[in-house]
Symmetry: C2
Subunit: 338 residues, 2 copies
């Protein structure tokens, strides 16, 4: 491994000059910088992150803590965060906190506290009091994306408003019997329940505001997955109960499942049943799904930017940031006919 000293020896200079030249500090003459850079290139030098991290106390990376990478929302946020990190020349330490209990504990302590990153961006996780305290003790800048956590800065959307707006769209179309498929019953815990709860509250609020009494039987507890929601609607249809005229799915993926189920049973969307989701998943256009669009990529961008700014010494943003959502009308919703 060729180090800074090797370069110094090669060109007959001191290691500190080489170090400064490579970091493009102003105290080095332009001529020297070029000599150094040339030598570094020629010798194939690569800076040891460990060594420079040791002395500066900075890793030039940020830790991204996620409950999973295989859900659309998470992967989008990750891409957004990544785009900012690349620009700032930061690396990303990905910590998958999926699961519960000991395993989670271990992953948490190991990766976060081991100072793999200079800041922490957490996704849709409910931190226990203990975890929050440990996080605080590390004194790292922290931000959460997707789900507010008390005491921590947050970037995301207003779930309640989103749920209400989606429901309102259906109400505006004349629907009064609206089924809501909610999520959060996943077996793999650790992700926050506040998202599905918020959307559900929004749903109920919108109904009440329109003078409709929320009917608990019209709320299906489910998971944020297509399959779960598909079978839920299958069951509903096959039970022979009267169908609602509209369905508000807590996520687009759940809406897809509902649409497939309805189509499979010969019901037309939106002719027989209107369907609306939340997300604007990349597949939503293919389903002609009307949805309340959020931009998780942007949420990642904003979250990362706030952390990076703080690491650059800019004054810390202490407030949360609520990003807008907007209705994307495609073909899956229509005025009520029954």
């Amino acid at each position: 491994m060729v180090g800074i000293e090797d370069i110094a020896r090669d060109i007959g200079m001191s290691a500190s000059t080489v170090s400064r030249a490579l970091r493009d500090l102003p105290a080095v003459s332009e001529k020297t910088k070029e000599i150094v850079r040339a030598a570094a290139d020629r010798l194939g030098y690569v800076r040891s992150a460990a060594a420079s991290g040791l002395v500066t106390g900075r890793t030039m990376a940020i830790s991204l803590v996620v409950p999973s990478v295989s859900l659309w929302f998470y992967s989008q946020v990750i891409e957004g965060v990544d785009s900012q990190l690349r620009e700032a020349d930061y690396d990303m330490a990905l910590v998958n906190l999926g699961g519960v209990g000991v395993e989670r504990q271990r992953a948490f302590r190991r990766s976060l506290l081991r100072h793999r990153g200079d800041a922490v961006l957490a996704l849709c996780l409910d931190f226990s009091d203990e975890e929050r305290e440990e996080l605080r003790q590390t004194r790292l800048p922290v931000i959460v994306v997707g789900t507010p956590v008390s005491g921590l800065r947050f970037v995301g959307i207003d779930e309640v408003a989103a749920g209400a707006q989606a429901t309102q769209h259906l109400i505006d179309l004349g629907h009064r019997d609206i089924l809501h498929i909610t999520g959060g019953a996943e077996e793999r815990l650790g992700l926050s329940l506040r998202v599905p709860q918020g959307r559900r509250w929004g749903y109920e609020q919108a109904l009440k505001a329109a003078g409709i009494t929320p009917n608990p039987a019209r709320v299906v507890e489910g998971r944020f997955s297509m399959e779960y929601s598909r079978t839920a609607i299958d069951t509903l249809i096959e039970s022979g109960e009267t169908m609602p005229t509209a369905i508000f799915a807590a996520s687009d993926e759940m809406a897809f499942g509902a649409i497939l189920s309805l189509n499979h049973h010969g019901l037309d969307v939106p002719g027989d049943v209107s369907v609306i989701g939340i997300d604007d998943h990349e597949m939503s256009s293919s389903f002609y799904l009307t949805t309340l669009a959020q931009r998780p990529f942007d949420q990642g961008v904003h979250g990362a930017q706030i952390l990076l700014d703080e690491l650059c010494g800019k004054p810390a943003v202490r407030t949360s940031r609520v990003l807008p959502v907007h209705l994307v009308t495609r073909g899956s919703t229509a005025p009520v006919t029954r």
Copy 2:
């Protein structure tokens, strides 16, 4: 920040003993270990990855290089890799190499060569000769998952065989006019073309073996996305051309798009057209899609395990590993009727 010396001072021992105790080395008495662990816990000690990395030359992390995180296949591999890393107490440095040119160059050099990880696992990337050479020079153990790269170990499936097997399934059902939707024309380059090409070759081979002359007009060049394939089939149907009796999509997501398009135009799957994909995407069951299942999670597990074994000092595996695929028959394929 409390360090090893603080603990040593606290319990009246030397730093080296503390270091050894915390690493559970045999040269330390059990009693001492307990005292040290207790003190470390009490003081809230956390090992500096930079310092220990500096002296050992190991980061206890591996770099995972991906072209994107938001495709199903990639996210599954990531989860698989992660599961192994957690067990081995390794961290993950995620390097998103999405994009081309300078940006890619920078990301490549920065993260890989900066020695963020002790080994590199690369996903479905075509490395340039230059990149391969740089990789080689780092002397890090490297493995590629998803797409073979000459000179590097590989974990994945036999794409040609998979393509042939999928096609053969349709042939066995009596189909002779089989459309193939292929991928690889994504605008975001950098990911390998070998996957779609392999599948296509398999398709052509299977046709020839069955005495059917491959018809270039029956191959649609597309992208690995649902939307692209949906519009491709839309166009085909609306052009009024005779429809094939079966469609072999190079990925499940593309198959979904095809199914939606067919259904939307009143065509029954599999009544009018059979559809088969490759992947076994988590949504495939909801689409009742017959597909050739691969297990990207397992591919990640195997790839990670090979690297971890090597880092543990076990003799390096020099051979590639081809994992099996298997046909999952659901409802989207049926004997030909026309």
